[in-house]
């Protein structure tokens, strides 16, 4: 072999070794999946103290559930509130609850965390069935945002028969709490899903699929290309039962006590805040396309509505970042 050929070959081999070594030592995300807050949590965390971060995420969610949001854990703020009519709150929790009360007011009661007694009658997640009409009317009379008072360190019930349930916003609060863990551990990039509500954190763009409302198994009908933020979906396909040939789903209209019946099957909200994305997805589902869009705009959030006839309604800014991947769905309006 000529001398120059040998030198070039040696250089090329060195370059190859560097590429392989670089790929092997490149920072790779650490993954974890576990059950918490009665749902599946999956987390991919890259950079910083990733291992520590995952442990903190797990303990943060356990604390959030057992100390604040759980309706059954005896030490939780919500349990105490429902049992005795009041509960003490730390500053952060008081801020979360105040923000939710604000969404309740701004949505004209379409988002309502005092619907616990009504939800219990429907029993989605257990053995759901059509409730007795009179019982439903009685439970509904003890709901509404005026039934609670929230101060800097205390929440209390103005109606002792009201039942508080943060089921429609707990995942969002969880995402905001997780974001604090990611910041504290200098995470470079992370994707965390709490029961299908997703937090996207850090560098670069993320591809997020919107689940096919008719697919059942998780295939998506469209892909969002977004940077940091939270994305939540409320869908009538998640929990439902059929009785006398009619389907009843779990998103309850606080005005009637019955499942929302307005032609929507799925509403997705994108926001910087997990609490907003989660609570607004429910509120916008209840309100429908026009009023829901106005509410989302009020909070600086973006919303995507999917109707029973497979039409997608959203603002122009979202059309720029969404790719519809299922030919059965198309833009409406």
């Amino acid at each position: 072999m000529r001398k120059t050929t040998a030198v070039i070959a040696a250089l090329a081999v060195a370059v190859l070794a560097i590429i392989i070594a670089f790929d092997a030592f490149r920072s790779k995300p650490l993954e974890s999946s576990f059950f918490s807050m009665n749902t599946l949590v999956t987390a991919e965390v890259e950079g910083g103290e990733a291992e520590n971060c995952l442990a903190e995420i797990k303990s943060t969610l356990e604390n959030l559930d057992y100390n604040i949001l759980s309706r059954t854990a005896k030490g939780s703020a919500v349990y105490k509130l429902n049992q005795s009519g009041e509960a003490l709150l730390d500053k952060q929790t008081a801020e979360y609850f105040s923000a939710l009360a604000d969404i309740s007011r701004q949505s004209g009661g379409a988002f309502d965390f005092t619907l616990g007694a009504v939800s219990d009658l429907w029993d989605f997640g257990g053995t759901p069935s059509m409730p007795d009409e009179a019982e439903l009317a009685r439970a509904l009379s003890h709901s509404g945002f005026e039934k609670i008072s929230i101060g800097d360190s205390k929440i209390s019930l103005n109606d002792k028969k009201a039942v508080i349930d943060f089921g429609a916003s707990g995942k969002g609060i969880a995402l905001d709490s997780i974001k604090a863990c990611l910041e504290a551990n200098e995470t470079k990039r992370a994707v965390v899903s709490v029961g299908g509500s997703v937090l996207l954190y850090g560098e670069g763009e993320f591809a997020v699929g919107i689940r096919n409302p008719r697919g059942g198994s998780g295939s998506s009908i469209a892909t969002l290309g977004i940077t940091e933020g939270c994305v939540s979906t409320s869908g009538s396909y998640e929990q439902y039962f059929e009785q006398n040939g009619k389907r009843y789903h779990h998103i309850i209209d606080p005005e009637t006590g019955y499942p929302v019946d307005n032609g929507l099957i799925s509403v997705t909200v994108i926001s910087e805040s997990g609490l907003l994305s989660d609570a607004l997805s429910t509120a916008c589902f209840v309100l429908g396309i026009e009023e829901g869009s106005r509410l989302a705009e009020h909070y600086g959030a973006k919303v995507i509505f999917i109707t029973e006839d497979n039409l997608i309604y959203t603002e122009d800014a979202v059309r720029d970042i969404i790719t519809v991947t299922d030919k059965n769905y198309k833009f409406g309006g």
Binding site: R2, T4, T5, I8, A9, A12, V13, V15, L16, I19, I20, D23, A24, S32, S33, F34, F35, N38, T39, L40, E44, F124, G125, G126, T127, P128, V191, S193, G196, S197, V198, L200, F206, A207, V208, G209, I210, R211, G215, G216, S217, G218, S219, S220, T223, V231, S232, T233, G235, E238, Q239, T268
Partner: protein
């Protein structure tokens, strides 16, 4: 005077090394798109099933503490039975594509098909 930097032989060596580097890089990154179903119980993977190689009916009972039957059949996988109350896992239907997921919450059992190009699916 014209100076020739590389000879034909040199170029051949460089091209071969670059091709090898690229091959290592992409194989190492898991370029395969074969749908593989992962079954996990309480966050621990208990079984993986290469769906492309499943032809007949394969029955899986992944959970010792909960009566669950998962069936892999002709490139698909599903919860066929669970003792849970709501049966949401069974109504999730058949999974076959990368990114598909079905969960039985009471049994803390998950079937997920790996290899999705998406960072997440919101539901």
């Amino acid at each position: 005077m014209k100076i020739k930097l590389f000879k034909k032989g040199d170029l051949f060596v460089i091209a071969a090394v670059i091709a090898a580097a690229l091959a290592f890089y992409f194989i190492g990154r898991g370029g395969s798109t074969k749908p593989v179903a992962e079954i996990s119980v309480d966050g621990v993977t208990v079984q993986t099933v290469d769906l492309s190689s499943v032809t007949g009916r394969v029955e899986i009972t992944p959970n010792d503490e909960y009566n669950i039957l998962i069936v892999a059949e002709n490139g698909t996988i599903r919860f066929e039975h669970s003792d849970c109350e709501d049966k949401l896992c069974v109504s999730s239907g058949t999974l076959s594509e990368s990114g598909d997921i079905a969960v039985c919450l009471p049994a803390k059992t998950v079937i997920s098909v790996t290899g999705s190009e998406l960072d997440a699916v919101v539901y």
